[in-house]
Symmetry: C2
Subunit: 441 residues, 2 copies
């Protein structure tokens, strides 16, 4: 059993960042095999593969069991010890030179959306396996152990909410919270876990990580638009959801003159357009402000809508900037709706604080990309990831690679062999760099 020593306890070992040339002098030249990684991606895409080229592999389903069995067998074949924790998360551990050190982890998830793609989550886990294979093939052993992690139920499609097992690991949820969650058919998470044979004995509390890296497709269009290969992810945006119900009065479109209406859709439309204009103001630059869900009632062609419900999604890397936008948004509601004789109810129903990734790990990623002269771009993840929770309990960061058109959560999700390979090479470099910086060369 590894001693539960946190990264922070080792911070002093890091000292000042070494000059890149010095670091390079002490580094092996390991090169991952992009074709081998791609082969794993395509092989595992069979587990839950859909006719349209995507994957349907809901958490703790039979397809999830199949890919888990493959993951275990593959990692054991590479000399790893695979343990399972009490919410089904799989830890494939390759011993290091000093197994009293907390492991350096590479983690993501093998579950998918109901009509998911072949890269979201899967790339991060299989890249971890490719890193292991490369080290094994070269006979290279890290100082600290390496762990490749498959977090259970990241998507949240079968058991809400998302990132459930990494949330348990981070202490956001208790294991019992997770085990009691029901899917739409009323099957409990714990029952499903037992039925595929993946309820483990290890409790997360005894399991410390020295660091975690997560490689992921961007799920956004920025890298592709700017022709960059590697996204150096510095954190995760804060996000908040506000629900708004606008109330006016149903009325006949023909019989009700414009000045006697209380048109809830007109009010909502002014808010949607006004929110977009707010986000374009200089003081709100960098904010993502969206209305993705909007429902009209009674939604009849010849009835002025008496009620509209919509959900506003506000994101920014800094929580304080979301605070500021919320103030202006609430003022917008009053400005847009009051003159139309409309009333409204508004509430913040979900808030996810901004996450700042570990600057030392970010530096490892930056150096890894520089080593291979890969075009990079720093960005902040807009989507949530297991890494966002793990950052609460261990030094963590992420690496992004482009996906076509920024499309994700879709069977047409796509990324290139070259980009996946480049991301995995940077992952390998960053892990070795981190191990060397943390644990001495």
């Amino acid at each position: 059993m590894s001693m539960p020593i946190a990264f922070n306890a080792h911070a002093s070992r890091l000292g000042q960042p070494r000059p890149e040339s010095m670091t390079d002098m002490t580094r092996p030249n390991l090169t991952i095999d992009p074709a081998r990684l791609w082969s794993d991606l395509m092989e595992t895409a069979r587990f839950g593969g859909t006719p349209r080229g995507g994957i349907r592999r809901l958490a703790l389903s039979e397809e999830d069991r199949q890919v888990r069995d493959w993951f275990r067998a593959t990692c054991e074949g590479l000399g790893c010890t695979v343990t399972i924790d009490d919410v089904g998360t799989m830890f494939a551990r390759r011993a290091g030179l000093d197994n009293s050190l907390p492991p350096i982890a590479i983690g993501s998830h093998l579950d998918t959306q109901p009509t998911g793609g072949r890269f979201d989550g899967v790339l991060g886990v299989l890249a971890g396996i490719e890193v292991l294979r490369t080290m094994v093939a070269a006979g290279y052993v890290t100082t600290a152990p390496i762990e490749v992690i498959n977090w259970t139920n990241e998507e949240g499609s079968r058991f809400a909410p998302a990132m459930l097992a990494s949330g348990v690991f981070a202490g956001v949820f208790t294991p019992d919270d997770a085990l009691g969650r029901l899917d739409r058919e009323g099957i409990a998470f714990g029952t499903a876990l037992d039925s595929i044979g993946y309820r483990g004995a290890v409790t997360h509390r005894a399991h410390k990580l020295g660091a975690m890296f997560e490689l992921h497709i961007e799920q956004g269009p920025i890298l592709e638009a700017e022709d960059k290969t590697i996204g150096i992810v510095t954190g995760v945006q804060g996000a908040r959801w506000h629900e708004v119900t606008v109330t006016g009065q149903d009325a006949h479109t023909g019989a009700t003159p414009m000045h006697l209406r209380k048109d809830a859709l007109l009010g909502a439309a002014r808010v949607v357009a006004g929110l977009n204009a707010l986000a374009a103001r200089p003081e709100h630059s960098g904010t993502n402000a969206s209305v993705g869900l909007l429902e009209v009632s009674p939604n009849s062609r010849n009835t002025v809508p008496g009620s509209v419900f919509f959900c506003v999604d506000l994101r920014h890397p800094l929580d304080a900037r979301i605070d500021a936008l919320e103030v202006d948004f609430r003022a917008l509601l009053a400005e847009a709706l009051t003159p139309l004789g409309l009333t409204w109810e508004e509430a913040c129903i979900w808030s996810s604080p901004a996450v700042q990734f570990d600057s030392r790990l970010i530096d490892c990623v930056r150096h890894g990309a520089a080593r291979h002269r890969l075009p990079t771009r720093e960005l902040v993840s807009g989507a949530g990831h297991d890494a966002a929770y793990i950052a609460r309990v261990a030094p963590t960061t992420m690496i992004f690679v482009p996906c076509a058109g920024g499309v994700s959560h879709n069977e047409s999700e796509s990324a290139t062999l070259e980009d996946c390979g480049a991301g995995t090479q940077v992952l390998l470099e960053a892990v070795i760099d981190c191990d060397q910086r943390m644990n001495g060369v």
Copy 2:
């Protein structure tokens, strides 16, 4: 059998309108009984009455049969002959002094919306019965026959489209068109007609009307807002429906920066707000422009909408004014959507031309209201009515009375005994006035 002589053939008999005082000198002082009318309204509201005080009396249902039986028995009790045409429309005819003249009709409908109120349509038919009762009680006989008409399937809730039987009468649809229409359970109009025993032998082609008056609740808020009792209806607005599908691209709300989005809902919101601004321009005054139905896809809280469908409802008493608004609306689509990188498809899927009611009949209504010093307001119906079709084949007009809040097609629809009574008194005056003007005193 009455000779099929149209109103126009009698136009020469009308001559110049008589001075009001002269008209009044030759008029009986007949007074309807508002309480008796109200009693009929409440009694027939039992046929399909709902717990919440409305009526569910779909066309050709068992409840429709019950109210039809009541209508027939009541009218026969007043000495009328009741005939049924080939699409179930009921004509209760009281003989006049000269039965070779085409009848003066009072018509509306006894079917309701699925959760309809107690006044929409019903008032117009029962007011006709109250007019008959008043004449019978006073021993007053008109020159031309009087017909009270119950048009089949005005609402169109069970068998689309609305105003089906009056449309057949006006030659807009053939009887076979109507008889073949299916409800949602696949039952044909003709089958339903047979099953309640209301398929008649009379063909509409042999049935001419000298005039038709329809009393109806306004279904809008104008009379109530302006504290008027009688709406002098000069026509029915032209109406057109345009369907628009806006296409952008689904994208993650967190991962997609504002400048890389193609947000279909933002585009649609600008169109909804822009259409309202267009209608407020001086050149489009008097236009009703509405979006009542709007659907967002995929309608997910954290997805920038890739597609929005909506339906635009444009109305004005003059078709040419709708033409002009359409030109500006199409320009608005381009202005609002192109800068956002959106594409769109737009089509006019329904057009109902404006109707101008008969100026002589309008004058009869005006004089009837003046006789009782009732506050009036001229207006154009925003909703469709049987009268809109009948105006194509006979001189026609309507009388409106206020309904609370302008609310209709709703179980809470409400009108007062006093207003219903006032409207029925004006109806009686107008029918007598019309008979005198058309057919001599």
